[in-house]
Subunit: 476 residues, 2 copies
């Protein structure tokens, strides 16, 4: 009798995949020198809130510094303004582990206070990475993010080397799960991730951790959209995209292209292309208004594919050599980079390791003798102040570089004295709100100038931050 | 006993896939207004011949016209110069069916003579398409290509409409096989092909015909590299790419990105990335030298995705409306296009149908009354002079447009009188070689000026074509 029932086929279940829009952080950092102002963002915020993104990346990376340094803007205030307008959409930031949003390791008290304030000012998701994939550099931040009840996304900084493998990355992701990670992000800052590797890596991480996996690629080598497509086929949950005027080149794949590409298949972004049109139009206008800031990097950078050197690092090498009138040595330097990287234990090439490796390789070639001149940063690297490299450092080179100095074995953040109290004393006279002390610790020189102006605006004019934002305080 | 043998796993067999490089034809047509000169190509020819491409697209499309019109170059001579240098690599061209490399239908005697000369001057593969996918417009060319012993590749002009489906395209490909096609090309001139559709379409054509399938996409919508990846997964044999400086935007995906993307997977292009570096460097230099010719279309064109209107057609509509001071009517026109296209039987939007549909849609909006003004081309379309549309034309509209005139039922090429003899008479005084008569028939006004100069150079200076090419005759 049961068999006589008509079999009704259920409609094919589509798997839901998410899009994180990076227009307000990584995209403009990558192609407009991090110069988008809050007033370039707010007019389109309500429209973006209706799109149905998984989340928006809006804070962290270089934006904190750039706000104060170039735009006379308070990064905290930007976050609050955005939070106010994004009522439905999750907001996320990029945190450089113990480096937070700066360029050195900060003491643990700073890390904990920063995370606390970041969450209380409106973030839903914090993505944490470390240039060396040294989990100890993410430990304190991760612990505090969990304490604040925020979504902890931990990053694998993707790279290619003899000591990095599917297995090593999968193992790393499992350790991240052990640290409380709510999701894993594959961070391909250089555009090295091929679709073949993306498929295998996502599969391995999924099998090992069962956690949601998000993929973050830059288009530099031209493979990013293919990597996304393969990653999603392998089970990835979310991919990072940028609205078309701020996409491609050194930025992310275009949101519209990824949404359209998945239409009619087994995956559903839940996004209506038509809702992206006014968003694209807005940023097209903003881009036109700021033509002079748009960097000329379009298309595909072959160097990424041949030398596995990120686009930014390559152009740095070129300009360093030009300054020395030694551009004819470029090929030698390009061939020296992998040697130095090997001797340093195969660090992924991302800020700050890309600068460290690149500078040493250039010096090795220009001085005519390898490791003859060694900058302080390179010495600190060999001393363990940046953390533990993925592979073994060359012992002979290490001896040449550090001499009789003793490398640290501990977590780099552990040896730093607390910094907050002292900083509070310094800025007491012109402190407006508790976040100011963090701005100061992170970028003392820049913040001092900025905070004095902020104090003057807040007191003399007796206006709230909100009005200040839209008034004279933020001249165009 | 057999079971006791040690099982030796054979190394995993990789499937060989080919790359057709379009730098010398479609890529520069798409992003440099077809302005590459033969002397921009020759210095890198020997290096390109070593890469291991499946083939190079070097001729046809708009290049024939552009050679004579803008570059004072003989297209036939270009082909011979390239052939001389490409000793290992197959050369191919794009032929617009009965339109050859021009913009109207030519008589059958012209079609046959053109194909004959194209093959005898050095082509290995001829790709034929028709804007309406009307096989009758490819019939004579296909027949002659087979007679010449040349590889016949027949194109499906890809589009999206209620009368186009996986099934209809697969059926078309089978009919092409019946006409002798050696391979099938999916020609996605507008960048509409999503990876999901690419996968299904390739699979359907492969199953139906067992012929090699080549995919040709433009990057306009940002989906092309994903479409290639999915098409190759489905069994496609060759994809069209452009070396990075001439890639992306309205051109093809970058060769380097596709080669790198497939590395380590089941597909093997057999191409060493390092061999592409000097090719990329050469065209980067050429592009820099011709900055003024590079069209500013980068990134992703959302209109392709929303309105399914090719990038070039969209910008044409905008400039037409600007001329009329009616840019505020753009939205109305964009919404009128699909209506007109429906009434015309859903032609794919490619030269010349994109211009025909776009102009009529604009007129319908600007005059305030639909089909009030009808240009000659639109009338000819309804009369059947362009061929048979994929769907049914609207009978009421047809009546309005053609009145009492009688549409033709036959193959459009059939009603044209032979053209060669008359043309030979005209150019007799300054004919240098038999190919000249074809240049004249195709573009009488342009060719007349050009051929007179060619005759003068060939006789007065008494130099062979080869020397002329590198000497005074082709001033920089
Ligand atoms: Co990034
Ligand atoms: Co094309």
């Amino acid at each position: 009798e049961e068999k006589e029932q008509v079999e009704i086929k259920p409609p094919k279940e589509k798997r839901k995949v998410g899009i994180t829009e990076t227009a307000l952080r990584d995209a403009h950092q990558s192609i407009m020198a991090t110069r988008l102002r809050t007033k370039d963002m707010l007019p389109v915020a309500e429209l973006m809130d209706e799109v149905g993104y998984h989340s928006l990346e809006v804070w962290g990376g270089a934006t904190f510094d750039a706000c104060m340094r170039f735009l006379d803007e308070d990064p905290w205030q930007r976050l609050r303004e955005l939070r106010k307008r994004f009522k439905k959409t999750k907001l996320q930031m990029l945190l450089r582990g113990q480096n937070l949003v700066g360029y050195r390791h900060y003491a643990d008290d700073v890390v904990r206070e920063f995370v606390k304030r970041a969450v209380s000012n409106g973030l839903d998701i914090i993505r944490v990475f470390d240039a060396l994939n040294d989990l100890r550099n993410m430990e304190v931040a991760a612990d505090q993010i969990k304490k604040e009840g925020c979504h902890l996304q931990m990053c694998i900084s993707y790279t290619i080397s003899p000591v990095h493998s599917l297995e090593s990355f999968a193992k790393l992701s499992l350790e991240m799960k052990g640290m409380g990670a709510d999701s894993i992000c594959i961070k391909d800052m250089a555009g090295l991730l091929s679709p073949v590797d993306a498929f295998n890596l996502v599969k391995a991480i999924k099998e090992r951790t069962s956690l949601p996996v998000q993929v973050h690629c830059h288009y530099t080598s031209g493979m990013a959209s293919m990597a996304y497509f393969a990653a999603l086929e392998a089970g990835a949950d979310v991919v990072d995209c940028a609205i078309s005027p701020l996409a491609m080149g050194t930025s992310q794949p275009a949101t519209e292209a990824i949404v359209a590409a998945l239409k009619g298949g087994d995956l559903d972004t839940g996004i209506d292309l038509k809702k992206l049109v006014p968003v694209a139009e807005h940023f097209k206008k903003v881009k036109e208004e700021n033509r002079n800031l748009v960097m000329g990097i379009e298309g595909v950078d072959v160097n990424v594919l041949i030398y596995q050197i990120p686009g930014g690092m390559y152009s740095n090498l070129v300009s360093q050599l030009k300054e020395q009138n030694a551009l004819d040595k470029l090929q030698d330097v390009l061939e020296e980079v992998p040697k130095v990287r090997k001797e340093m234990g195969y660090p992924p090439l991302v800020t700050p390791t890309s600068q460290i490796v690149g500078t040493q390789a250039t010096l090795n070639v220009l001085t005519g003798k390898r490791w003859k001149i060694v900058p302080k940063e390179v010495k600190n690297y060999f001393l363990g102040f940046y953390g533990r490299p993925p592979g073994e450092m060359d012992e002979d080179i290490k001896k040449i570089v550090i001499g009789d100095d003793k490398p640290i074995e501990s977590r780099p953040g552990e040896i730093l004295e607390p910094e907050l109290e002292k900083a509070r004393e310094v800025i007491k006279p012109w402190m407006v709100e508790p976040e100011d002390v963090l701005s100061y610790v992170l970028f003392p020189a820049v913040a001092k100038d900025f905070l004095i102006r902020k104090y003057a605006r807040a007191t003399k004019r007796d206006v709230g931050f909100e009005e200040a934002l839209e008034g004279v305080a933020y001249p165009v």
